[in-house]
């Protein structure tokens, strides 16, 4: 488990080593050109930062040396001292000392003594001559023999990792095409190379996803403070237990669920857990228990918020849902617990107006559902009245990138996941026949029904699709053959746009009831593009064909 202190230490080390390298570089420049203003300013700034950071970490001696050097560089910058003579020797010795101290911090060793150096720096600041010993000269001569060390850590912007992931996504699409081509062509050397490419790009994809993983602890470790604050505001006693901090998850996923988790935790403390008096009256321990845990289940990461509070009052939620007009009284009566609890995540649904006796859960919980939907995650609720509630966020480990074919109908783009696409055809009208009111063509000797996609998209009500007519067909028809459950269906579209990696986001209400659309994606241009659900399209065609 990585604590915050460890994290700070690593950050401090990485930055200190970086500062040290820059200092050495700027010093060399200053030695060549003693009037180099920018180098002086940089040295001054780097010393200043190192001093502040070292003091924050409690490395007083390191901070002290940096502070003296900062003062000295300030004087040189203000032209009260010149970068010459014995000053140069002391400054170099000073920067060397900083390097040794930083390395000692990194190795967890005591910092080397810097008394002589500090005395000399003091003398220089006061405008007096430093006392140089012979040995110091020898030490500086050894410089060239010293080992150079670079930090083992690289800090990288998430944006760059996003970029890398997108590129890998595209590479994977091309890889798949090359693989298919190689199989068609049947050249053994080509096939072997394609298979190698397949493995390598798989490894690459895995490595990039791996680089984006962080421990869930970076988020969970923020919660002790939140719980303490909410608990003290509510005058409750809460004991928080964290576990699974080192479970790995994509950094962006963690970012997206931050607010959701914050909501659930605040809710658990202020509504889930009872007051000390209520708990004692119910025969429970006075201190409420809240557990935040992360665990891995197959390819998913589970984050659980568990409290031993009053639990969800299912009947109260049922009544509230009817009151709010979300369902009828008769329908509500037949809903099971899970279906009733689902109302808690409806936008604006709140139990807060009915305080006191009723479990007041539900304040803004739709935020949680929205975050999970945007990730393709799930929410599980378990609750027992009087015993407690557990919310489980089921999250993908990594952000799903899927290949899709973009097509156009009536000047709107639609995406069809490559998982379901079979062939793309340009058919002259004479290749299309009408059989039993349905357009049909033959692909590789097999009859495949065709339907203008427009017709499925515009379909409403229970009426059957109209009888097909090819009278007004002119020129080549663009057909995308999709495949679902070994059933092939040709969709007539206006145009093929391109293949692209997409991240599918589920539709939000009220569109989520239209099952022809599996979700929505954003194109590079920022245009919203609906993702077609091939199974649903196929089912619609089968039930409504004339």
């Amino acid at each position: 488990m990585k604590t915050r202190d460890q994290e700070y230490r690593e950050l401090f080390m990485a930055e200190a080593l970086e500062y040290y390298d820059s200092m050495s570089r700027h010093l060399s420049e200053l030695e060549r050109n003693p009037d180099a203003g920018p180098a002086l300013n940089e040295l001054f700034r780097l010393m200043h930062n190192l001093k502040a950071n070292a003091r924050a970490m409690g490395f007083t001696d390191l901070g002290e040396v940096a502070h003296h050097l900062e003062t000295l560089f300030g004087l040189i910058r203000d032209q009260e001292r010149t970068f010459s003579g014995s000053l140069i020797k002391v400054v170099f010795a000073g920067v060397d000392a900083l390097g040794n101290m930083i390395r000692a911090v990194g190795a967890g060793q005591p910092l080397p003594d810097a008394t002589v150096l500090l005395d000399n720096l003091d003398l220089l600041v006061r405008g007096e001559e430093p006392i140089l010993e012979e040995t110091e000269e020898v030490e500086t001569e050894e410089e060239s023999g010293k080992k150079m060390e670079l930090s083992d850590l690289v800090y990288i912007q998430v944006k760059k990792l996003d970029n890398l992931l997108n590129l890998v996504g595209e590479l994977v699409i091309d890889r798949d095409r090359i693989m298919t081509l190689a199989q068609e062509i049947g050249n053994p050397a080509l096939l072997a190379t394609a298979q190698h490419l397949f493995r390598i790009s798989d490894d690459l994809q895995y490595s990039v996803m791996d680089a984006r993983l962080v421990g869930v602890g970076v988020l969970l470790n923020k919660f002790p403070r939140v719980v303490r604050d909410v608990a003290s505001a509510e005058s409750k006693e809460v004991e928080l237990t964290l576990s699974g901090q080192d479970v790995q998850i994509d950094r962006n996923i963690l970012q997206i669920i931050t607010d959701a988790l914050l909501h659930l935790v605040r809710n658990a403390v202020s509504h889930g857990l009872e007051t000390t008096a209520q708990r004692s009256a119910a025969g429970k321990s006075a201190v409420g228990h809240l557990t935040l845990s992360a665990l891995t289940e197959r390819d998913d990461v589970l984050i659980q918020v568990r409290d031993d509070g009053r639990g969800i009052d299912t009947e109260a939620v049922r009544r509230k849902a009817v009151e709010r007009g979300l369902t009828t009284a008769s329908a509500a009566a037949n809903l099971d617990e899970q279906a009733v609890w689902a109302f808690l995540f409806e936008p604006g649904f709140s139990m807060a107006s009915k305080i006191t006796d009723i479990s007041g859960r539900g304040v803004g919980l739709d935020v949680v559902k929205l975050a999970l939907d945007s990730l393709g995650g799930q929410l599980r609720v378990e609750s027992q009245l009087g015993v407690g509630t557990t919310f489980t966020l089921v999250l993908p480990t990594s952000i799903a990138v899927k290949g899709a074919l973009l097509i156009e109908v009536d000047e709107r783009p639609y995406a069809i996941p490559l998982m379901h696409t079979d062939t793309v055809l340009a058919l002259q009208p004479d290749k299309i026949s009408v059989v039993g009111g349905v357009l049909v063509t033959h692909v590789q000797g097999q009859a495949v029904p065709l339907i203008p996609l427009r017709m499925l998209l515009h379909d409403e009500g229970d009426e059957m699709l109209p009888f097909a007519d090819k009278a007004d067909m002119t020129g080549a028809q663009q057909v995308l053959v999709v495949n679902y459950n070994n059933r092939r269906l040709g969709l007539l579209v206006d145009r093929f746009i391109r293949q692209q990696n997409i991240v599918i986001k589920p539709l939000s209400k009220p569109l989520d009831t239209i099952d022809l659309f599996g979700g929505v994606t954003l194109l590079g241009s920022g245009q919203v593009c609906l993702v077609l659900d091939v199974p649903a399209l196929t089912r619609l065609f089968l039930t409504k064909r004339p």
Partner: protein, 128 residues
């Protein structure tokens, strides 16, 4: 609504510490700028309620940045952040509209106290 804060500091370590302290306390950190140019750009795009501003920055001094910030975001409260030794600049900064001064190394309590007090203070709005 949570108060929105922009952190300006050229040290990643310092920014991380400040950000943790502030977000733990329930503030929303809307951006982290590592130099003056970024600071001015982010202040314009995020319209923060408060800006913590390091005195010494790579491209220009915190004082220049302060003046630009006061022009583009006159309602934003600015708290200077510096290690000891730069008191002169800090005094000048206060004269230019900064509300307070956090001395590095800082304790969490001190940061929250100063930031909280600065957010309560509406002198900068009156000045604007």
């Amino acid at each position: 609504m949570n108060k929105r804060i922009l952190i300006v500091d050229d040290s990643f370590y310092m920014r991380t510490m400040l950000k943790n302290m502030l977000t733990d306390a329930g503030y929303e950190v809307v951006g982290e700028a590592a130099n003056g140019a970024q600071a001015v750009e982010m202040a314009a795009s995020t319209s923060p309620d408060l800006i913590t501003l390091d005195v010494i920055l790579p491209d220009n001094t915190g004082l220049d940045v302060l003046k630009s910030l006061r022009q583009i975001q006159p309602t934003a409260k600015v708290v200077m952040c510096s290690a000891v030794g730069q008191e002169v600049i800090v005094t000048e900064a206060i004269e230019n509209g900064a509300l307070a001064y956090i001395v590095k190394p800082f304790s969490e309590e001190k940061v929250l106290e100063i930031v909280g007090a600065a957010l309560q203070n509406d002198a900068s709005e009156q000045a604007a």
